[in-house]
C-alpha cells in the first residue's frame, strides 16, 4: 500500500491540510474543529511556541513576539521592497542575516523565514497526524504560481525543516484546477482567479479528461487581501487622527488592535452590507484619558476604497488571457480561490469581467489543499489518475552587458525544460566570465530577481571567439532552477543548484533539524544558531579532481594548500558529505570543475558559485563554430595578480545593483 500523503496549502494568513485516502478526499480539521489554521507563530516568555489561531489571538497582547504573514518575506532579500514594507508595519523585529537574507528576531533569537514557515508546516503535519492517527512524512506543498525560484526553494527548505519529504512544490491555481476537475472527465478551458492574503495569481488551464495543461499563468506577488485590510486600517487611523489628534500608528498595541479590527471588518463585509467598527480603549492619550474608536463602513464605501486594487487584478487577467491566446468567451468555468474572493465586491467584479458566474461548488479556502492532496497521492502511487502540465511563471534570464538581461527560457514555457547557451568572454584575453541569472519580466536586469551568480575561469585566455562555455539552464517540475556548466574541453558536466543566497544552505537546514530534534518544538539557546551562521560566513570550495575526490577549504586557504593538505581535506569531506552541502554536488562526478561559494568582500555578490578548472592543465580552448553575439557575452572580468578575478567592466552596474540595497 502506498504511503500516507498530505497536501498542504501554506497560506499567507491561513493554512489548510488535506489527504486522499482510498480515493476519498478529506480536509483535515485541527483540534478545534477548524479546517484552516492561522499561519501565525507566537513565541512565549517561557520559551514555548504556539502556532495557529491561538497564536493569532496573541497578536494584540504581544505583537512583538507574534509572527504573522511570514510568507510575504519567504525567499526575499533584506533589501527588497517587501522586507522594507514589513519592517514598517510589523511589530516584530526584522534583521539582516547572512547574504542579505531576512531574519526575524524574537526574544533575542534570530529565525530565518523557512524556520518560521516550518513551524506552521509542522503544526499542519501534526494536525494531519492527530486526525489520521498515523505518522505522515510525505507532502505536496503549494505556492503562489508567480513565486520565483528563491521563494520556491525557501518553501521547500521549510518543508524539509518541518520533517517532511516534499514530493512536489505545486502552484496554487493548478492545485485548485485539479481539485475542481479531478475525476470528472472534463474537456474544458478554465480560469483560476486566486486572490490570497498576500498574492494574486491567475492561471488559464485546459483540462482534457485527466490532463491538466496550464496555458498561461500571470500574477502579482505584491497584491492580496492584506492590502484590503491596509486600506481599511488607513481609513480608521486617519479618521482617528482627524478626530483625536493622536496617531494610533505610533502605538504598537493600538496599531495591532486596528489591524485586527480592519481584518474583521473586511470579513464581515463578505456577508453584511454595512459594518460598525468599535474598539474601546484603543489607546491612552498623553492626558491619561483612554480613547475609543468608532467607525461605520458600508460595502459600497469599501468597494470604492479597494477599486484600484481590484482593477489591478484584471490587468493581470488580460495579460494571462492574451498569453494563453483565449478570450473570456472561450472559458467554460471560473474558479475562485482565496479568502478574499468571498467578498461580494470581488465576486461581482469577477462575474462582470469574465461575463459568467464563478463556480459556486468550490470552497476558496480548501480547494488548494485538496488539489495538493490529490497530487500527493498520485505521486506515490504506481498508477496516476491525473497529469499536470505546468509552466514557468517568469522569464529566466541572463545578465548581459549594459545592465540588460536576455531571456533563456520565457515565461509560460512548459516544464520540465532545459535550454542551453554558449558563452564567450566579452573581450580577448579575458580570464574569467561571470554569469548572472535572473528571473523576471523586465529587460532591465536590476528590476528582476537575482537568483545567483556563476563564474567561469581556468580556461586559457585567448581570442574571445575561440572560447565558448556551454551552460544549460533547467527548470524542473517544481519550478526550481538548476544551472549546469559544461567544461569547454572535456564536455563533462558539472551541475549545481543555484543556491538561493539569501536562504539556507543544506548545511544550515541540517543543523536546524538537528537542533529541533534535540529540543523538539521548544527553542534552544543561541549555540546552534551561531554554528550555522559561521558555516555561511565561511567560504566553501568543493572541488572534484579527476579521481572524483572532493575537497573543502575556504577560498583564502585554497591557494596556500599543498597537495598533501588538499588530500587530507578530501578525505575529511569524504567522511562527512554534509560538509559540502552548500552546493548540491550529488550530480557531480568525474568532473574537472571547482565549485565555490563565497562572500564578495565588496558587498555586491550575494553568494556566487565559481567554476574553475583545476585538475586539468589548462590548454587552449578550441570551440569550432562558436557563434556568440558580443551583446550576449558576460560581464567582463580581468584577473588581478593574486589570481582572483577583479571585475573591471560593468562593475558600476553590479555595485549599483547591490550597493543601493546595502545603503537602504
Amino acid at each position: 500500500m502506498a504511503d500516507m500523503t498530505i497536501g498542504i496549502d501554506l497560506g499567507t494568513s491561513n493554512s489548510c491540510v488535506s489527504t486522499m485516502k482510498d480515493g476519498k478526499l478529506e480536509v483535515l480539521s485541527n483540534a478545534f474543529g477548524e479546517n484552516t489554521t492561522a499561519s501565525v507563530v507566537a513565541f512565549h516568555e517561557d520559551g514555548s511556541i504556539t502556532v495557529g489561531n491561538a497564536a493569532r489571538a496573541n497578536i494584540i497582547h504581544d505583537p512583538a513576539h507574534t509572527v504573522s504573514s511570514a510568507k510575504r518575506l519567504m525567499g526575499r532579500y533584506h533589501f527588497s521592497e517587501e522586507a522594507r514594507k514589513a519592517q514598517a508595519i510589523c511589530a516584530y523585529e526584522i534583521t539582516e542575516g547572512a547574504n542579505h537574507s531576512v531574519r526575524i528576531r524574537v526574544r533575542e533569537e534570530d529565525f530565518s523565514l523557512p524556520e518560521i514557515s516550518a513551524m506552521v508546516l509542522r503544526e499542519m503535519k501534526q494536525v494531519a497526524e492527530a486526525r489520521l492517527n498515523k505518522k505522515v512524512t510525505k507532502a505536496v506543498i503549494t505556492v503562489p504560481a508567480y513565486f520565483n525560484d528563491n521563494q520556491r526553494q525557501a518553501t521547500k527548505d521549510a518543508g524539509q525543516i518541518a520533517g517532511l519529504e516534499v514530493l512536489r512544490i505545486l502552484n496554487e491555481p493548478t492545485a485548485a484546477a485539479l481539485a475542481y476537475g479531478f475525476g470528472k472527465g472534463l474537456d474544458q478551458k478554465v480560469a483560476v482567479y486566486d486572490l490570497g492574503g498576500g498574492t494574486f495569481d491567475i492561471s488559464i488551464l485546459e483540462i482534457g479528461q485527466d490532463i491538466f495543461e496550464v496555458l498561461a499563468t500571470c500574477g502579482d506577488t505584491f497584491l492580496g487581501g492584506d492590502d484590503f485590510d491596509d486600506r481599511i486600517l488607513d481609513m480608521l487611523a486617519d479618521g482617528f487622527v482627524a478626530k483625536e489628534g493622536i496617531n494610533p500608528r505610533n502605538d504598537p498595541y493600538a496599531f495591532e488592535k486596528l489591524k485586527v479590527a480592519a481584518e474583521a471588518a473586511k470579513k464581515s463585509l463578505s456577508v453584511d452590507d454595512e459594518v460598525e467598527i468599535r474598539i474601546p480603549d484603543v489607546l491612552v492619550g498623553e492626558d491619561g484619558e483612554t480613547r475609543s474608536l468608532e467607525h461605520t463602513i458600508t460595502a459600497v464605501a469599501f468597494g470604492t476604497l479597494i477599486q484600484d486594487l481590484v482593477q489591478r487584478t484584471f490587468k493581470v487577467c488580460d495579460e494571462a488571457m492574451q498569453q494563453a491566446n483565449v478570450t473570456v468567451r472561450d472559458l467554460d468555468g471560473i474558479i475562485l480561490v482565496g479568502g478574499p474572493t468571498r467578498l461580494p465586491i470581488i465576486r461581482d467584479a469577477v462575474t462582470k469581467y469574465f461575463q459568467q458566474e464563478p463556480k459556486a461548488d468550490v470552497d476558496p479556502d480548501e480547494v488548494v489543499s485538496i488539489g495538493a492532496a490529490i497530487h500527493a497521492a498520485s505521486l506515490v502511487s504506481d498508477t496516476s489518475d491525473a497529469v499536470l502540465l505546468d509552466v514557468t511563471p517568469l522569464d529566466l534570464c541572463i545578465g548581459v552587458a549594459g545592465g540588460l538581461c536576455e531571456p533563456v527560457i520565457e515565461c509560460n514555457t512548459p516544464l520540465p525544460i532545459e535550454q542551453s547557451r554558449k558563452f564567450s568572454p566579452f573581450k580577448d584575453h579575458q580570464e574569467s566570465v561571470r554569469l548572472k541569472v535572473y528571473q523576471g519580466g523586465s529587460r532591465q536586469a536590476e528590476e528582476n530577481e537575482l537568483l545567483g551568480q556563476f563564474e567561469f575561469s581556468g580556461f586559457t585566455p585567448g581570442l574571445r571567439s575561440d572560447i565558448s562555455i556551454d551552460v544549460s539552464f533547467e527548470i524542473n517540475a517544481d519550478g526550481i532552477v538548476n544551472v549546469i556548466a559544461k567544461d569547454p574541453e572535456s564536455g563533462q558536466e558539472a551541475s549545481t543548484k543555484i543556491t538561493m543566497s539569501s536562504g539556507l544552505s543544506a548545511n544550515e537546514i541540517e543543523s536546524i533539524m538537528d537542533r529541533d530534534r534535540t529540543a523538539d518544538v521548544q527553542r534552544t539557546g543561541p549555540d546552534a544558531e551561531v554554528a550555522s551562521d559561521s558555516m555561511t560566513d565561511d567560504m566553501l570550495i568543493a572541488s572534484y579532481g579527476m579521481d572524483n575526490e572532493l575537497e573543502l577549504v575556504s577560498e583564502d586557504e585554497l591557494n596556500e594548500l599543498s597537495e598533501d593538505e588538499l588530500e587530507g581535506i578530501a578525505n575529511e569531506v569524504e567522511n562527512d558529505p554534509n560538509a559540502i552541502s552548500m552546493t548540491d554536488v550529488a550530480d557531480l562526478n568525474d568532473t574537472t570543475l571547482t565549485l565555490a561559494i563565497d562572500d564578495d568582500p565588496d558587498g555586491p555578490a550575494i553568494g556566487k558559485v565559481a567554476l574553475k578548472t583545476v585538475s586539468v592543465p589548462p590548454a587552449p580552448v578550441t570551440a569550432p563554430g562558436a557563434d556568440v553575439d558580443p551583446d550576449t557575452t558576460m560581464t567582463d572580468y580581468s584577473t588581478g595578480d593574486d589570481g582572483s578575478p577583479d571585475e573591471l567592466f560593468d562593475r558600476s552596474d553590479s555595485v549599483n545593483l547591490m550597493g543601493d540595497h546595502n545603503e537602504e
Partner: protein, 171 residues
C-alpha cells in the same frame, strides 16, 4: 495511466538523440496544432515525470532527460512560428533539436529582413521611400516602393506598404 518500464526508458534514452521532434512525439510532420495537442496529452499519460515518479533514482535521472526533450519538442511544434523555423532547420539538415530562443530569433530576423528587404536594391529603394514618406511626398514614396518591388516582387511587406500609400488619406 501506467508508467514506462525500465526497458522502455533505456531504449528511448539510446535513440533520443537520433529522433526529430515529430518522431519523438510519434506524430506526422503534417499534424495540425489541435491534433498535436491531443497527441501530446496522450503521450503525457505514459511519459510525464509525474506518472513515472516512483521509478528508482537511476531510471528517474535517465527519464528526466527524456521528458525535458519531449517538453521542448512540444514547445516548438505547438507554436506555428517556432515550428516553421524548426521545419526549415530540418529541411536544411541543421540538426534535430532547436533552442527555443533560437527558433524565436530566427523568425524575428526573417520578419525584419522581410520588412527591410532581402536584396540590396530592394533595401535601398525602401529607404528612399521612407525618406519620401517623412517629407510627406506620397507620389515619390509610391514610385520608390514600386521600384523596390521590381527587385523583390514577392515581398508581402512591400506590397502592403504600397497599398497603404495608395489609399486616399481619410482625414
Amino acid at each position: 495511466m501506467s508508467k514506462l518500464s525500465r526497458l522502455e526508458i533505456d531504449a528511448l534514452s539510446k535513440i533520443i538523440d537520433e529522433l526529430n521532434y515529430y518522431e519523438l512525439l510519434q506524430v506526422k510532420p503534417t499534424i495540425s496544432s489541435r491534433n498535436l495537442k491531443l497527441a501530446y496529452y496522450e503521450i503525457s499519460r505514459t511519459h510525464h515525470p509525474d506518472v513515472n515518479s516512483t521509478l528508482d533514482d537511476g531510471a528517474k535521472e535517465t527519464y528526466h532527460r527524456i521528458s525535458k526533450v519531449m517538453t521542448e519538442a512540444y514547445c516548438v511544434l505547438r507554436d506555428p512560428r517556432k515550428r516553421k523555423s524548426y521545419d526549415e532547420q530540418l529541411a536544411s539538415d541543421g540538426g534535430l533539436r532547436i533552442q527555443l530562443a533560437a527558433a524565436r530569433a530566427a523568425h524575428a530576423k526573417k520578419d525584419s529582413e522581410k520588412r527591410m528587404g532581402t536584396t540590396p536594391q530592394g533595401k535601398q529603394f525602401l529607404l528612399k521611400a521612407e525618406q519620401d514618406m517623412r517629407r510627406d511626398d506620397t507620389p515619390g514614396a509610391i514610385q520608390n516602393v514600386q521600384m523596390a518591388l521590381t527587385f523583390e516582387p514577392n515581398n508581402a511587406q512591400f506590397k502592403e506598404l504600397l497599398e497603404t500609400l495608395r489609399k486616399p488619406k481619410s482625414e
